[in-house]
Amino acid sequence: MEERHVKSKAHAAIAGTLAGCALLAAFPPGVTAQSSAVDEIAKYRQQLQDGNPADLWEARGEDLWKQKRGPKNVSLEACDLGKGAGVVKGAYAELPKHFADADRVMDLETRLVHCMVTQQGFSQADATRRPFGAGSNRSDIEALTAWVTAESKGVVMNVALNHGKEKEAYRLGEKMFYFRGGPHDFACATCHGETGKRIRLQDLPNLTEKAGAQLAYTTWPAYRVSQGELRTFQWRLNDCFRQQRFPELKFTSEASIALTTFLARNANGAAFNAPAIKR
């Protein structure tokens, strides 16, 4: 744990510095009130990197993985996350992928639900009852996601598109990324399809090109300070669609998996650096 903390601090410091540099580079001189506001925010973000409360979710998640739970009273230690039963290290960096036992492409959260249902005997309803925590109403999936993703910290993103369904998921996700709908005509691309843009003072990564996708995808899940909660990638998609004025994205739906496949694959080649901490 000590080693991982030091490594994560270094990674976080590098990410923070790079983010800070990127922010500085984005603004030409003369835009003074702008630059100083954005720089101060970058400094605040860098200061936040130490003491990430995501650690608390990781600790809980590790316990949940190892504890005997559910009607079948077994732990998740035999769950196959794509690298073999019980292999957690590096698993997240290769997800989403096709799983033969379900013949579906699955992201982490979908796979965790699968193991909770098939191995621990939870019903689908119980396993997905609380995907996102709220204060004392905690989410087990969130904690498990925090720990499993932490076990991929520093691992280079390597989403392979070998199976036909994996390739198709990527292509579907790409189409969905450009799907314009709702009363505001928003698509993911409306905010995330161009480089160098921001909403208010929040920089927007361009998720269709490597640098933006890498920066964004490798920093989720994250402790959102403004929420006081650890938020997963399923949450991020869900909350984007809410702000796009769409109806509610179903947890672990096919669309969420396809979009995750598209975005995760675009991030290939970058070291995974989460759970991170964000505003």
Binding site: D103, G182, G196, T208, R242, E248, E254
Partner: protein, 204 residues
């Protein structure tokens, strides 16, 4: 591990290189999968996923270029939707307009449908000098009236642009505030005043 029938089929497919979906088929399937992946919640019903013509045509990467006859068609159709105020007065109160520009609520399933929506202009645009927290998805609107002049023609353009941005720019990222019922007529007048009233801080 015993091969299931679907696994066998998948293996056969890969082995024999059976045809993958072409681009149009993927696009079609993406829409079907999208629609099946959402639940209605609050004021956000599933019909929000039914795309109108502009949305269907504009579901493309920013780099993709639609042919001119298609973009002309989109602009013409959207221009026809613009409803100007019956009394012919296009300028409302810029102070109210600033409130509308600052407000980012409205139409989300987490929003109370009884509370008026904002336009969230500052999410994407610079407007007044004083507000430094502005986005850059759209161009700066600072000095909008000052630069273009305060004529009635420009008032009509500003009002029309807020009412339906795609009347002037097919596939614009900007929401069609009037046509989609996001803002009321009074709110659009107030935002037009924010841009076009010589006393508005936007023009100072």
């Amino acid at each position: 591990m015993k091969p299931t029938p679907s696994l066998l089929l998948a293996c056969l497919c890969i082995a024999s290189g059976c045809a993958t979906l072409n681009d149009a088929e993927v696009a079609q399937k993406a829409v079907t999968v999208m629609k099946a992946s959402f639940n209605e919640r609050g004021q956000a019903k599933l019909d929000r996923l039914d795309q109108d013509d502009a949305q269907k045509l504009c579901s493309i990467p920013p780099s993709a270029r639609l042919p001119k006859d298609v973009t002309d068609g989109i602009e013409k159709a959207n221009l026809a939707t613009i409803k100007y105020p019956a009394d012919g007065k296009l300028l409302g109160n810029w102070k109210e307009g600033e409130k509308v520009a600052q407000s980012g609520i409205g139409k989300q399933y987490s929003d109370d449908p009884k509370v008026p929506a904002g336009a969230n202009c500052y999410a994407c645009h610079q407007l007044t000098k004083a507000e430094i927290s502005f986005g850059t998805i759209g161009p700066s609107l600072y000095n909008f009236g000052k630069v273009r002049g305060y004529s009635e023609a420009i008032q009509r353009y500003a009002y029309g642009k807020i009412y339906n941005s795609q009347a002037y720019s097919a596939c614009s990222n900007m929401p069609r505030f009037g046509h989609k019922g996001i803002l009321t007529e009074q709110q659009i007048k107030d935002v037009t005043a924010l841009l076009m009233d010589p006393d508005s801080p936007v023009n100072k």
